[in-house]
């Protein structure tokens, strides 16, 4: 980790590559359906001719840019560009609706850069000890973690707990359709070969979030996002002030993002949601989450970019990809002929450290690049007439959905879910619990089946599920987050009654 590696990361070529990667990643990530994994996979062949560290910097920069780019569509169109940006829609879109889309996009940029830096510094200084955290998580911990994630539905669906739970249950049932990941059973296809592939999470997400917005755009004559009379002169400066005033939220969310990123199989969507809920749980009385509260954007965006650095920890230390884009990057390294795995740090230390510095530099470059692209994204969404905007976005949802698995049936499913999502939104149901169920259902199921199999083999099922200290901590957390809000609201109600 000497100074030489830092200088190596600063060569003009590496800088140019980092810049190109951030720009390309941000643009690709901003299109709903083109995820970070896709962005990295599409651009892998470009990296073949490069030196391994330059290739890594390119792919890392694309990855981090794509995670940030996902925020644009989330804020301006209520559609997460990548699954990591689900929770960005909760407050980003309401803020944009209030005419402060440019402010929201700038806040997302500052938060993403901060989170990205925390994750990258964790990778630089704490990689080996943090990698052991990934290994301490067994199947049963993943099971309880997903239960904790599902418990977030309770706090996300204010007032409508039953509706939220119904949505979550529907999402979990949908997640079981098709070939079961670990038992290889073929379930709930009703004899249809199309359904063997099951519901694709990103496609379903585009349908449930984006199509209702498009339908609503068509059904009203107003502009999509109105511009308020008092346009902030310097949205960037006030965004910086708002973001860095929430120091505590920023740091907490970045740490959550880093830790969740380390766990293979959890990913940015879970990190964003957990950070969002924590921010909401500790909100001050004047803050109104879900109605355009900047802290909601800050929490999600810092957490999801922190997963980038976090995810590289098991990837580089153990050779086990922390997130799906990491798997692609590991593959690209193997093609390059670099031995990955535990020996990478020893045998190729200079490649690894040059890359980590490169990732840091790319993250910093994301600040100016992100602010500039963000302003263009905002301006074009606001100024383009609806008659052009709706078909353009509609076209992108179809291309994006198709591109994930090169499957036309995914597009049909996406459109059907879109109409379904629009109908239920008229009855007050929201899309998020369904998507949460869809994402967490398989993690819960796999963890449960694996933990049960192992527990039964060692004749200690209760010990497997309730006896492990890490599990106990997660269970305690779940109980606190479920019971505390209820207890507090009862207490204030009692006071009001008395």
């Amino acid at each position: 980790m000497d100074f030489g590696n830092f200088l190596a990361a600063l060569t003009p070529l590496n800088l140019a590559v980092a810049m190109f990667g951030v720009v390309a990643g941000t643009l690709i990530g901003s299109i709903p359906g083109l995820t970070a994994t896709m962005a990295v996979a599409v651009l892998v062949p470009i990296s073949f001719g490069m030196a391994p560290e330059t290739a890594l910097i390119l792919l890392g920069a694309i990855y981090t840019g794509a995670i940030y780019g996902g925020a644009y569509a989330a804020i301006l169109l209520n559609t997460p560009g990548t699954p990591s940006a689900i929770a960005t829609t909760f407050d980003g879109y309401p803020l944009a609706k209030r005419g402060k889309g440019d402010l929201a996009v700038a806040i997302a940029c500052f938060s993403s850069v901060f989170g990205g830096l925390v994750g990258a510094f964790a990778l630089l200084f704490l990689a080996p000890p943090l990698a052991s955290v990934a290994l301490a998580f067994g199947p049963v911990e993943y099971f309880w973690l997903s239960i904790f994630g599902l418990s977030l539905i309770a706090s996300l669906s204010q007032g409508n707990l039953m509706m939220g739970l119904a949505g979550g249950a529907l999402g979990m049932i949908m997640s079981t359709v098709g070939v079961a990941e670990i038992s290889a059973d073929i379930r709930l296809t009703f004899g249809s070969q199309t359904m063997i592939s099951g519901f694709e999470v990103v496609g379903a997400m585009i349908g449930l979030y984006c199509i209702p917005v498009l339908i609503d755009m068509c059904s009203t004559g107003e502009k999509h996002l109105k511009i308020t009379g008092e346009v902030a002169k310097m949205p960037i400066l006030s965004a910086a002030r708002i973001t860095f005033n929430s120091k505590f939220n920023l740091i907490r969310s970045s740490i959550i993002g880093t830790l969740v990123g380390i766990l293979p199989g959890a990913g940015g969507s879970v990190a964003g949601l957990v950070a969002y809920t924590e921010a909401k749980r500790t909100a001050k009385p004047h803050q109104r989450f879900g109605e355009g509260e900047p802290d909601g954007i800050i929490a999600t965006e810092s957490a999801n970019n922190a997963t980038v650095g976090g995810g590289f920890i098991p990837t580089l230390v153990l050779g086990i990809p922390g997130t799906p884009p990491d798997a692609v990057i590991l593959g690209a390294l193997m093609v390059q002929g670099v031995r990955t795995g535990p020996e990478l740090f020893q045998s190729n230390g200079s490649i690894v450290y040059t890359f980590i510095y490169g990732l840091l530099i790319a993250t910093i470059l994301m600040l100016p690049i992100g602010l500039i692209i963000g302003r263009y994204a905002y301006k074009s969404i606001v100024t383009i007439p609806k008659a052009v905007l709706v078909p353009t976005v509609g076209f992108m949802t179809i291309i994006g959905t198709y591109a994930i698995r090169n499957s036309i049936s995914d597009v049909v499913v996406m459109l059907c879910l879109g109409v379904f999502g629009w109908l239920i939104s008229k009855y007050g149901f929201s899309a998020s619990p369904i998507v949460l169920g869809l994402i967490l259902g398989p993690i819960a199921e796999q963890g449960f089946v694996q933990a049960w199999t192992i527990g039964a083999a060692v004749n200690n099922l209760p010990g497997m599920f309730f006896g492990r200290p890490l599990s106990q901590a997660i269970i305690a957390f779940t109980l606190i987050s479920l019971v505390l809000p209820w207890y507090l609201s009862r207490k204030t109600q009692n006071k009001a009654d008395a």
Partner: protein, 317 residues
């Protein structure tokens, strides 16, 4: 203003390029190589290694795209509907294409997949962590005999290569181990390293990646793997087991005999390149040269074995 305009146009062009690259990924003379899984897996990695050699030898681009879904079924079910002009090929995996259609109607049959080359396999291997008490395969067998079902082994997938290897070995060694299915080799390796399980049914590629963090007790190859001269084969230890996860390439059924021969020769040529072989060996893969002319016999032999083992274990009816 000009700069602004340029920036705007560049941005739009990049977007358009990204969309078209990921959506269609076919341009003139390039070959569309479809992997029926997501990016980052071993099927993707071995295809990526072929990619650069193909370009070098034949001049055209080999463009890799992904059609995941249903454990590969979505891709294979679509294969014979694609153009058979030789510009589209698809990755094929064993035992998947034998086991899946035997489970249920998944939209394709094993015989309907026209595989023209099997170019490598990742040999099955029993892997333990470096400080495991098992020094040899016999240690594991003794332990499993003393506590039936108590030795827990992770592996990737149910009715998969790992699972079938576990079933076969348990029968041969007359032991009873517990198999825990994980989503992919990465997750199954993480469970091993975190000591959530006693041992792993993995592949030589796990040994190649994990290096000194793990120890392989035996590998399912005819001869020892060049990367691991100290790891015995199951055969040496008295268990007649050779196999793993086989990977090949298929053409749509409408492809002419001539196209099949051309492709079989091309892949054979890449497989013969010493630099390619070295890269594959370093990744822990084992090269295989089953070309179009030997395919029928090879498939028959593998299918019979897979179906027999899977049926005996109740994985298929």
């Amino acid at each position: 203003m000009l700069i602004k305009k340029i920036a705007k146009h560049t941005a739009m062009l990049t977007m358009a390029a990204a969309v078209s690259m990921s959506a269609s990924s076919t341009y003139a003379d390039s070959v569309n190589y479809i992997i029926p899984f997501g990016p980052g897996g071993e099927s993707d990695i071995s295809a990526r290694i072929q990619q650069s050699f193909y370009k070098e030898k034949f001049g055209d681009d080999l463009v890799i795209s992904y059609k995941p879904g249903g454990g590969g079924a979505a891709g294979w079910a679509s294969l014979n509907g694609l153009n058979g002009d030789g510009q589209t090929i698809m990755g094929v995996n064993l035992p998947h294409i034998v086991i899946k259609p035997a489970q249920k109607d998944v939209g394709f049959t094993t015989d309907g997949i026209h595989t023209f080359y099997m170019f490598h396999y990742t040999p099955d291997a029993i892997v333990v962590v470096a400080d495991s008490p098992y020094q040899t395969l016999q240690d594991l067998i003794d332990d499993a005999k003393s506590k039936p079902g108590g030795v827990v082994m992770s592996g990737s997938g149910k009715a998969s290569a790992n699972n079938l290897a576990q079933i076969k070995f348990d029968k041969m060694a007359d032991i009873n181990t517990t198999y825990v299915s994980f989503k992919g080799t990465g997750a199954s390796t993480a469970a091993l390293l975190g000591e959530q399980v006693t041992a792993q049914w993995g592949y030589t590629s796990v040994g190649a990646k994990q290096g000194s963090a793990v120890r392989m007790l035996a590998v399912a190859m005819e001869d020892r793997h060049p990367l691991f001269p100290n790891v015995p084969t199951f055969k040496e230890l008295g268990f007649d087991m050779v196999g793993g996860a086989y990977r090949g390439i298929a053409l749509p059924s409408s492809a002419s005999a001539e196209t099949v021969t051309t492709w079989s020769n091309r892949i054979g040529e890449i497989n013969a390149d010493p630099a390619f072989r070295q890269k594959m060996i370093n990744g822990g893969f084992a090269l295989l040269d089953i070309d179009a002319s030997q395919m029928a016999e090879f498939m028959k032999e593998r299918s019979t074995e897979y179906l027999m083992d899977a049926r005996a274990a109740g994985l298929i009816k």
